[in-house]
């Protein structure tokens, strides 16, 4: 088993360099009167081996933050770092390579190529890179995710939960520095949702994987070690060890009073 034995505890993570980080990140859309401030100076570090959930009301900038962190989009100002690499000055080619080699993705929808089998989808980033998947690791991941007898199937022949699990497997099999998920369970029922989340949880606990997901489901967020609350493009709360009830209460509070009410 090539599983790293030690799951990095939150405290230990502080000393190690962060798996990813954003500093004074600003993102604005449009100009003049129609300017939208999606991110207003967000600074955050994600420790290696930690599971983080980003929460917040709709339009608060969660997706924007994640896209900037993951190298899918560029910020208006500020810096993003994945491992020791600063993304700010990367060319499209370098950015693509970075996503391919260091980042894993699980999207809400359109995760898989419909013409490829589950197995081919899982190894897709490696194949594109021209790398061979590590057979033992592949077997471990697929086994853990319960996909062993589903590998030959096409996405249309899989359930929604299975599709997301395949997406998780694809993200895990390349052993990226960090896995991002933008509402990875957004389209799933609660059972499938729980399956996918526990897989991500396990990958953090057993393999030391770093995971960041965006969600607005308190139950999903409760799987995380750390929950960051965004409101109106700013981090308004950042806590560890919250229960789903705590999160639910806080979200309700956010919705009722808005970020300004919180700061009082």
């Amino acid at each position: 088993m090539s599983t790293p034995a030690t799951a990095a505890p939150a405290a230990a993570g502080q000393q190690q360099p962060p798996a990813a980080a954003a500093y004074e990140l600003v993102k604005t859309y449009g100009k003049g009167e129609t300017t939208v401030h999606a991110l207003r100076g967000v600074s955050v570090e994600f420790a290696a081996g930690e599971f983080t959930a980003i929460m917040g009301p709709s339009g608060s900038g969660k997706s924007t933050l994640m896209h900037c962190l993951a190298g899918l989009d560029t910020a208006t100002s500020g810096a993003v770092q994945i491992g020791e690499i600063v993304l700010t000055r990367l060319s499209d080619k370098q950015m693509t390579r970075l996503r391919r080699d260091r980042v894993g993705f699980v999207f809400q929808a359109f995760n898989l190529v419909p013409t490829l089998t589950a197995r081919e989808n899982i190894t897709l980033p490696l194949d594109i890179a021209g790398r061979k998947p590590d057979a033992d690791w592949m077997q471990t991941v697929v086994g853990r995710l319960g996909l062993t007898d589903r590998l030959g199937h096409r996405p249309t022949e899989l359930s929604g939960g299975q599709v997301q699990r395949v997406a998780c497997a694809r993200a895990l099999v390349g052993r990226p520095q960090i896995i991002f998920g933008d509402e990875p369970t957004g389209n799933l029922d609660s059972r499938s949702s729980a399956e996918v989340l526990s897989i991500l949880r396990t990958s953090v606990d057993d393999f030391g994987q770093t995971v960041v997901i965006v969600t607005h489901d308190p139950r999903a967020a409760s799987y995380a070690d750390r929950v960051i609350f965004l409101a109106d493009g700013q981090i308004v709360n950042d806590q560890r060890g919250l229960s789903s009830d705590d999160i639910y209460e806080y979200m309700k509070h956010l919705d009722e009073h808005g970020p300004d009410g919180l700061q009082d």
Partner: protein
């Protein structure tokens, strides 16, 4: 609502300009060839009509021989013409018949040398010698006149028409060489004493006018005229005169001037029809293929707009309004395509005309005539084709249910292709049975028609079963994608993702290249068979033959024999069409010399030597006519001559000959000197002589004959084959057209599927696919689709071509199918290149897809 729907349609058109342009282009390709062919033939026939309106003006009756073959257009005469007795009879009965003028014509094919000594080529136009009639004696005093110099007087003086003189760089006072193509004459020196201008002048037309006595001597046997034109006295109508003459001379063809003009126009229109057919074939390909392109475009547009359409439905648009809005788009595209097509078509016609007159093919020069027909045809064809093509997509659009506005994902008409595949296979089976049956039959026109019918069935089969065939075929050619690894695999699976679309896209290539393969196979079979036959059957060293279709006088035989170093000489002479014992004997040749010494032929019965008084017949003739060795046949030619000719042997029909080989004495008896001409002279060089030396000497001796070629066996084989190359020009034209349409179709399909797959491509980019890899994926997909289309077209085309050649085989002895591998490989490579080119732009667009588009809810 109606105006809203119209607004939606028009906005849609405006919003997708590239798509609009591509679709219009698809319509345009078809309509432009329709317009081109109609404008071209319209222009040409009006120009020719203009010329022929001036022919035989004032002539009330013209007497010509019956059965005179193709006559006028440099063809060989089958008869001597109108005997002098008829002319003197006419003169006698002048008053009784109310005749004003009698004008006998003396004319025949000639070749004249340009200033530099080489032959003046007339292209497709006649090159003739005529008797000069001074305007004051002519029935039509305006038909021709001398514009500089004077009328020809002595036996060596001539007047040349001005356009020919210009082309030949000859002017008054120049001396040049002239050869009378038929008969027993030798080359002669003539002096240009005048330049004439004729109303019947076309590009390339060559008219050499002689003094009447000279013309009579050169072009007749001294007691015949080629034709006789007569004008009636005032008060007598043409019809009356013709009726009287017909009663008096029933054995001749007698027509009024108007009929002569009508015949001439009909003949030229028949000739123009060939161009018309070729252009219409192009138009046909363009339209059929365009139909698929348009259909494809509209299918995709509808697929992409499903949600929008569903939304319209849910807010109350009726089914009819939906389908009408799609059809309205089609109508606009059809109109625009038709109009632009008309413009391009006029350009095609102008280009073609310029091309043909530059090559001196005997076409009149005139400005383009654009009648109402091409305009109407273009618009109607454009609109009808587009509307029909959009019909099915429009119907599908109308079936979109309002709930589909809420549904996720693409509804892409993925209904089963089983039924159409089965129907397609049934068509294929019938097609193959027809083709195989025809190929195995005794051959001829009927079976060739069956092959054509089988071909049509196969095309229908391809249309129907194409989607089903696309998977296995693309898997087959998919090995080419293997070096590209995952990218290749993605490309391959994308290529078969929507088999209907792939098949419809590839169809343009399939159809175009199928025709290329048919023509290519026929061409290579004819070419190859003849080449092989020349190499294996002809044992002579040198071959003397006429250039183009020109004839050569018999004198070449004697002149060749007197060249130093020449050994055996065998001269083959053209025979007149004849009948013997009630059977027609066509395609016979007269043979002077020992044929067996220069040509391999197998005797089935009798000796291979051709007795001067006798003839050999082929096994085919023996079978068809039931003739036997020892039998004597009474042959009668169309010129009225006859002879008793015994059959001395039966030979096996071959590529070059399947008719009677007539001994020289019998030939001389049957063919009047005036009508003799040389078909070919085959030479063996004398022992010890060098072929190249003798070749040069013979060339020198033949130089004055102007339109003569002296070649080695190899050169002869090649040049014979080169006439088939004209067929191949059409082939490459079709290839070009098919490729252009294919490029458009593939661009269209790919561009639209790139838009459709935006999210997926975005996702691929997100998980690390580089831009170059995205581009490569699209390129490979495109190449695979193109190769699929090309391969299908090649296979079917070669099969049809092969079967067609098979149906000729029993008729054209020695012709056997030869598959043009070179053309096949070249075409497949061209198709791949086309696939790549077509993918460039869609590939770049796809590569520009941002990874975020995978997630964006657009």
């Amino acid at each position: 609502m109606a105006s809203t729907m119209r607004k939606v349609s028009l906005r849609n058109l405006a919003a997708h300009k590239v798509r609009l342009a591509l679709t219009v282009l698809a319509v345009l390709l078809g309509t432009s060839f329709v317009a081109g062919s109609l404008v071209f033939t319209g222009t040409m026939s009006s120009a020719f009509n203009g010329i022929f309106d001036k022919v035989a003006v004032g002539v009330d009756a013209q007497i010509t021989p019956r059965n005179n073959g193709s006559g006028g257009f440099a063809g060989r005469s089958q008869t001597l013409g109108i005997p002098d007795s008829v002319i003197s009879q006419l003169q006698q009965d002048r008053q009784q018949l109310h005749i004003a003028k009698i004008e006998p014509a003396y004319t025949g094919a000639v070749a004249i040398a340009k200033k530099d000594g080489s032959a003046l080529q007339s292209g497709g136009a006649p090159s003739v010698g005529v008797a000069w009639t001074p305007p004051e004696q002519a029935i039509n005093p305006h038909a021709e006149r001398i514009v500089s110099g004077h009328a020809p007087q002595g036996p060596t003086q001539v007047a040349l028409n001005d356009s020919a003189a210009k082309k030949a760089h000859l002017s008054v006072g120049d001396t040049t060489k002239l050869v009378v193509a038929n008969g027993t004459g030798k080359p002669m020196q003539v002096t240009i004493v005048g330049i004439s201008k004729s109303v019947a002048d076309t590009t390339g037309y060559v008219q050499v006018s002689f003094q009447k006595a000279t013309a009579e001597r050169l072009f007749s046997d001294g007691s015949h005229a080629s034709s006789v034109s007569i004008s009636a006295q005032p008060g007598t109508s043409s019809d009356q005169l013709v009726a009287q003459l017909k009663a008096k001379f029933p054995q001749y063809k007698i027509e009024t001037g108007a009929q002569v003009r009508k015949d001439a126009k009909a003949a030229i229109n028949g000739f123009l029809q060939v161009f018309n057919y070729i252009l219409l074939a192009f138009a046909g390909i363009g339209l059929v293929v365009g139909t698929f392109l348009i259909y494809n475009t509209f299918s995709m547009i509808v697929a992409q707009r499903v949600r929008e359409l569903a939304l319209l439905r849910s807010i109350g648009a009726s089914k009819r309004q939906i389908s009408r809005s799609v059809l309205l788009e089609a109508l606009v595209i059809g109109l625009v395509g038709g109009l632009v097509g008309l413009g391009v078509g006029i350009g095609i016609a102008a280009g073609l005309k310029a091309l043909l007159s530059a090559s001196g093919s005997g076409l009149p020069s005139s400005s383009l005539v654009i009648g109402p027909t091409p305009v109407i045809a273009c618009l109607v064809v454009g609109v009808v084709v587009t509307t029909i093509s959009a019909w099915f997509p429009a119907r599908r659009a109308s079936k979109v249910s309002p709930v589909e506005a809420m549904r996720e994902g693409q509804t892409d008409g993925q209904s089963s292709i089983l039924v159409r595949t089965i129907i397609g296979l049934v068509f294929a089976v019938f097609g193959i049975v027809l083709i195989a049956g025809a190929a195995a039959s005794k051959g001829g026109g009927g079976p060739a028609g069956l092959v054509g019918l089988g071909g049509v069935l196969l095309v229908i089969a391809i249309v129907l079963a194409g989607p089903a065939i696309s998977r296995p075929v693309i898997r087959l050619v998919g090995f080419l994608a293997r070096p590209f690894g995952k990218i290749g695999q993605l490309a391959r699976t994308n290529a078969v993702r929507n088999p209907r679309r792939t098949a419809a896209t590839a169809f343009s290539l399939t159809l175009g290249l199928m025709l290329v393969a048919v023509i290519g196979t026929m061409g290579s079979s004819l070419k190859g068979s003849i080449e092989q036959a020349v190499k294996s059957d002809i044992t002579g060293d040198l071959i003397v033959s006429p250039q183009n279709t020109a004839a050569l006088p018999t004198g070449v035989g004697q002149d060749v024999r007197s060249v130093q170093g020449v050994g055996t000489v065998v001269q083959m002479l053209n025979m007149l069409d004849a009948t013997g014992n009630g059977k027609s004997v066509n395609g016979a040749v007269g043979v002077s010399g020992d044929l067996a010494s220069v040509f391999k032929y197998t005797m089935i019965q009798g000796s291979s030597t051709i007795h001067p008084e006798g003839m050999l017949i082929s096994d085919k003739m023996a079978k068809d006519d039931g003739w036997k060795v020892g039998q004597t046949i009474g042959l009668t030619t169309k010129a009225g001559t006859s002879a008793q000719v015994p059959i001395t042997g039966i030979y096996k029909a071959n590529t070059f000959s399947s008719g009677a080989l007539v001994g020289i004495s019998a030939y001389d008896k049957l063919v009047p000197a005036q009508l003799r001409s040389t078909n070919v002279v085959i030479i063996n060089v004398a022992q010890g002589a060098k072929v190249s030396t003798v070749e040069n000497r013979v060339g020198l001796a033949m130089k004055d004959y102007l339109t003569v070629r002296v070649q080695t066996k190899e050169q002869f084989a090649n040049s014979n084959a080169s006439s088939i190359n004209q067929l191949l020009v059409v082939l490459y034209g079709m290839l070009g057209l098919a490729l252009v349409i294919a490029v458009l179709g593939i661009i269209n399909t790919l561009a639209l599927s790139v838009v459709e797959r935006r999210r997926e491509i975005g996702m691929l980019r997100a998980v690390g696919m580089a831009r170059a890899q995205v581009r490569r994926m699209i390129y490979v997909e495109s190449i695979l689709i193109a190769l699929f289309g090309a391969l299908l077209g090649m296979v079917v085309g070669v099969v049809i071509g092969w079967a067609l050649v098979k149906t000729f085989e029993p008729v054209l002895t020695g012709i056997h199918p030869i598959i043009p591998w070179g053309t096949v490989v070249f075409t497949l490579i061209a198709a791949a290149v086309v696939g790549l080119l077509a993918a460039l732009w869609p590939g770049i667009r796809a590569a520009r897809t941002k990874p975020l588009e995978a997630i964006a809810d657009v």
